[in-house]
Amino acid sequence: MKTHVTTSINDETVEFLCEPQQTLLHVLRNELGLTGTKEGCGSGDCGACSVTVNDRLVCSCLVLAVEADGAKIGTIEGVANSDKLHVIQEKYLEHAALQCGICTPGLIVSTKALLEENPNPTEAEARYFLAGNLCRCTGYDKIIKAVMDSAESLRQGA
């Protein structure tokens, strides 16, 4: 029996029907067409599906879609303000912090969560906070530089 869910995704009210065992990731991608959130493992080990639920960073593959009822969901599609990129997105591009780009949406959502929680992280804190976001292309160096540079700009109110 499908359940009716009313939720907020990137500050827009969204309603959908889902099976109780469907994950939030599955519904975002396959029912709502929000494919910016990626699936790399389906077991919470890669972070490609990172979203925020009530402003807390989670793997959407480890959240049931029904749990979204009455909650506030944030996805990569909501990070930029229409065509105006968020500072973090600009810094990822400036620092060449992506190659294939499949991990990038998850990393940007996680970086945003990190900097909202800790606006002035050390490099080590950034590396540990982002340990759940696997990237196989970059060796992380440019990602971390982009994160530190984003933090700097945001502190200066960019």
Partner: protein, 751 residues
């Protein structure tokens, strides 16, 4: 040549043209496409590593109300069992088919048996349970030693070792042997004051791309069938699928989606031909997506290897002889990268006497695929470990030791040609003066140095550039962009035409809009497709000059192209590119440039890596504390993405050296088929990886480009291995240097 000339865009750190879509989540990857009426395909996989299929009954599944199609080996029209028996099929095609849908025998745990398509993903998963299979289980052959032993179970009754003086009459698990030699190694070793000989092993590892294989296909009876998939080579996906299904190339359009990592692992097909069979039978579009577990069990990992290396030197540090025996696991079907392994193992050194033999061995593991400089990391790991041990015995600095024997222009390689200008010496010198090498080691730290070589390739690339009336242009290329190559195509075109970057949009188009392009691999794209882009631009410039000449009523010879404008040498006139395009209508129609080439003269590249580690002697755990990757790029078009290739290769190599390995149980079942227990490096596992770009131009490329994608994974295995060895004061011979293995070495040494 590139040294002299000042560039406007080449060498700048521009913003990649595909960047906006990738940071906003708009970019569409393999699993992101949904078609109207689409159904879901899933695959039943073998629970045994080695078995004969005695019964395969799909009738119950076919009866399931939601199941619309079933696919099995017999559904490959051009590769049926009969043709196989009569030996009419080339074995490559049969192996390809038998790997994606098993034929009579399953050869590894996870081997695809049969596929079905159902209305929903859940129904497809459920229906798989209804398929009735019976097996006669055979003993799994899980290592090179087991595979080559006389009493080994034979995987393929029709496989007789190739490359021997005479082909044996008894089938074995050794697919082929190769031998390369120059000079006389025995005479060489006779002159040696010091000889080091050791045996090494490396485990089965996976490329570990974050995006699982996925595809969405639609079979069209009367028109063009379509495939959407993440691949390094959509033209080759088209070729394989067409051959397996007996289709004409013109009946099949393949679109390369954005690709979430490949590293060589997405250069072949697994799902696409199977999905096409299902779509043809069901008359509906079919989508298939591998789970992460399926990716580990049934895509193409990289060969495990065993090797024996013997190197001799004189007391003054001169190398006199190098000898290697290299064994590579191919997985279930022949075709490991043993050949390139033999050809690369000693290439960094200019030594008179060399002898190398290699063996391609089949085992009950997934068929290997390419992985970044395929074959080279395993072989050069072993060679470089011995080089460092020799340097230590000779009490010579390991960089000086390599400098003394380094390959350079004119060096006769073991694999054939003499080297043209290469940058190994420059890389070694840069390493010597690097900040890391100048930094003293702290208590308990160890340092490792290693060199690495990879050929790089050229090959076929086809590019079309269409100019618009307003002077903007579209670059149509057919090389899937796995690391930012669209940025370098845009930069090279803007440089050639002399117009701003944002006037040109590079697009990786489908198989219908440009002619054949070889797969993105072999570090060929910025080199070869870049050459095609330059050729297409030169084609356009010639036309622009002719059009301007027509407007001025002079000959083309009287027109010169300077910084994006036509100049009339006969007068004062000048027309910008946009102005010429605007009058194209009057001067003979719109302007397109074409560059269809088969690029030669790929520039070999060398790298040198430095690794410092700290080893916890109580637990055997290694932390990488400093790392520097130095490599000859020939010319870095976009330094940011060149550094990214160095850093990415280094990170993968560090993972290979420290923690990555397939762990199998006694039945040949992989026990760690997930990112939880197949441990690729995390952000918190790595220090910042410093890079030094060396530029010794490749004379065959208009900008001096060499490939940079692969060489960076070659040195890390020995750089890390030697650093650990240096830290614990014991030899390292087997990868990975995981904590239990290192602790065991320390404990054995204490007793």
């Amino acid at each position: 040549m590139s040294e002299a000339k000042q560039f406007k865009y080449i060498g700048q750190r521009t913003i990649r043209p595909d960047g906006f879509d990738k940071v906003t989540g708009r970019a569409n990857y393999g699993a992101d496409l949904a078609l109207p009426g689409m159904i879901w395909g899933k695959i039943l996989r073998s629970p045994h590593a080695h078995a004969v299929i005695t019964k395969l009954d799909t009738s119950k599944a076919e009866a399931h109300p939601d199941v619309l199609a079933i696919a099995r080996f017999e559904d490959f029209p051009t590769v049926n069992a009969a043709a196989f028996a009569e030996g009419r099929q080339d074995s490559g095609l049969v192996d390809l088919a038998s790997n994606i849908l098993a034929n009579k025998k399953v050869l590894y745990h996870g081997h695809a048996l049969v596929a079905l398509a159902a209305r929903t993903e859940a129904a497809a998963a459920q229906a798989l349970q209804l398929i009735d299979v019976e097996y006669e289980v055979l003993p799994p052959v899980m290592s090179i030693d087991a595979a080559i032993s006389d009493d080994a179970a034979v995987l393929h009754e029709d496989m007789f070792t190739q490359g021997l003086a005479e082909t044996p009459s008894i089938a074995s698990n050794i697919a082929s042997r190769m031998e390369l030699k120059k000079g006389d190694v025995d005479a060489g070793f006779a002159q040696a004051d010091v000889i080091v000989e050791r045996e090494f092993s490396t485990p089965t590892v996976h490329q570990g791309y974050i995006e699982p294989h996925a595809t969405t296909v639609r079979f069209d009876e009367n028109g063009t069938s379509t495939i959407w998939c993440p691949t390094q080579g959509h033209f080759d996906v088209r070729a394989s699928t067409a051959r397996l299904l007996g289709m004409e190339l013109g009946q099949l359009k393949v679109t390369a989606s954005e690709i979430g990592g490949g590293f060589g692992g997405k250069t072949t097909v697994y799902l696409e031909p199977v999905a096409m069979i299902l779509s043809r039978k069901a008359g509906r579009p079919v989508k298939m997506v591998m789970t992460r577990e399926e990716v580990f069990r049934a895509s193409g990992p990289a060969s495990a290897s065993q090797s024996r290396i013997k190197i001799g030197a004189k007391n003054d540090g001169t190398l006199v002889a190098m000898q290697a025996s290299l064994y590579y696991e191919a997985g279930a079907f022949k075709g490991s990268p043993m050949g390139p392994g033999c050809m690369t193992v000693f290439t960094p050194y200019d030594v008179e006497n060399m002898w190398v033999e290699g063996f391609d061995v089949v085992v009950n593991k997934a068929k290997v695929a390419a992985y970044r400089a395929p074959g080279a990391p395993q072989a050069e790991f072993a060679a470089e470990m011995v080089m460092n041990e020799l340097a230590e015995q000779l009490a010579i600095d390991p960089i000086d030791f390599r400098l003394q024997n380094a390959a350079k222009e004119g060096t006769q390689t073991l694999y054939g040609p003499k080297l043209k200008a290469v940058g190994l010496v420059e890389c070694l010198q840069a390493a010597k003066t690097s900040q890391q090498y100048q930094t003293a080691l702290a208590e308990g730290e160890g340092r490792g140095v290693a060199a690495g070589f990879w050929f790089n390739i050229g090959g076929q690339s086809s590019v079309i550039i269409n100019m618009n009336p307003d002077g903007t242009g579209t670059i149509l290329e057919g090389s899937p962009d796995i690391g930012g190559s669209r940025a370098s195509m845009q930069m090279m075109a803007a440089e050639e035409l002399g117009i701003p970057l944002d006037r040109l949009s590079p697009i990786v188009t489908d198989t219908e809009h440009v002619a054949y392009n070889q797969t993105t691999g072999g570090s060929r794209t910025t080199f070869a497709t870049g050459m095609a882009v330059v050729e297409a631009c030169q084609d356009i410039v010639a036309q622009l000059k002719a059009r301007a000449a027509a407007m001025w009523n002079v000959t083309s010879e009287q027109v010169e192209w300077q910084e994006g404008s036509a100049i009339n040498l006969a007068g004062e006139d000048k027309m910008t590119l946009a102005e010429v395009c605007a009058v194209a209508e009057k001067t003979g129609g719109q302007i397109s440039g074409r560059g269809n080439i088969n690029a030669r003269g790929a520039g070999p590249s060398f790298a040198v890596h430095l690794c410092d580690v700290q080893v916890d002697r109580d637990t055997g755990k290694t932390d990488v504390v400093r790392y520097t990757a130095i490599q000859d790029a020939g010319k870095a078009i976009h330094p940011g993405y060149v550094e990214g290739q160095y850093q990415g290769g280094a990170a993968q190599g560090i993972g290979w050296a420290l923690n990555e390995e397939y762990v199998y149980d006694e039945n040949g079942v992989m026990e760690n088929a997930g990112f939880l227990d197949y441990r690729i490096p995390l952000a918190s596992d790595l220090p910042s990886i410093d890079t030094i770009i060396v530029e010794v131009p490749n004379s065959f490329h208009p900008y001096g480009v060499r490939g940079v994608g692969e060489t960076g994974i070659v040195p890390p295995l020995a750089a890390v291995g030697s650093a650990v060895s240096n830290a614990i004061g014991l030899p390292i011979t087997d990868l990975p240097c995981s904590p239990p293995r290192v602790l065991k070495l320390l404990q054995e040494a204490d007793q």
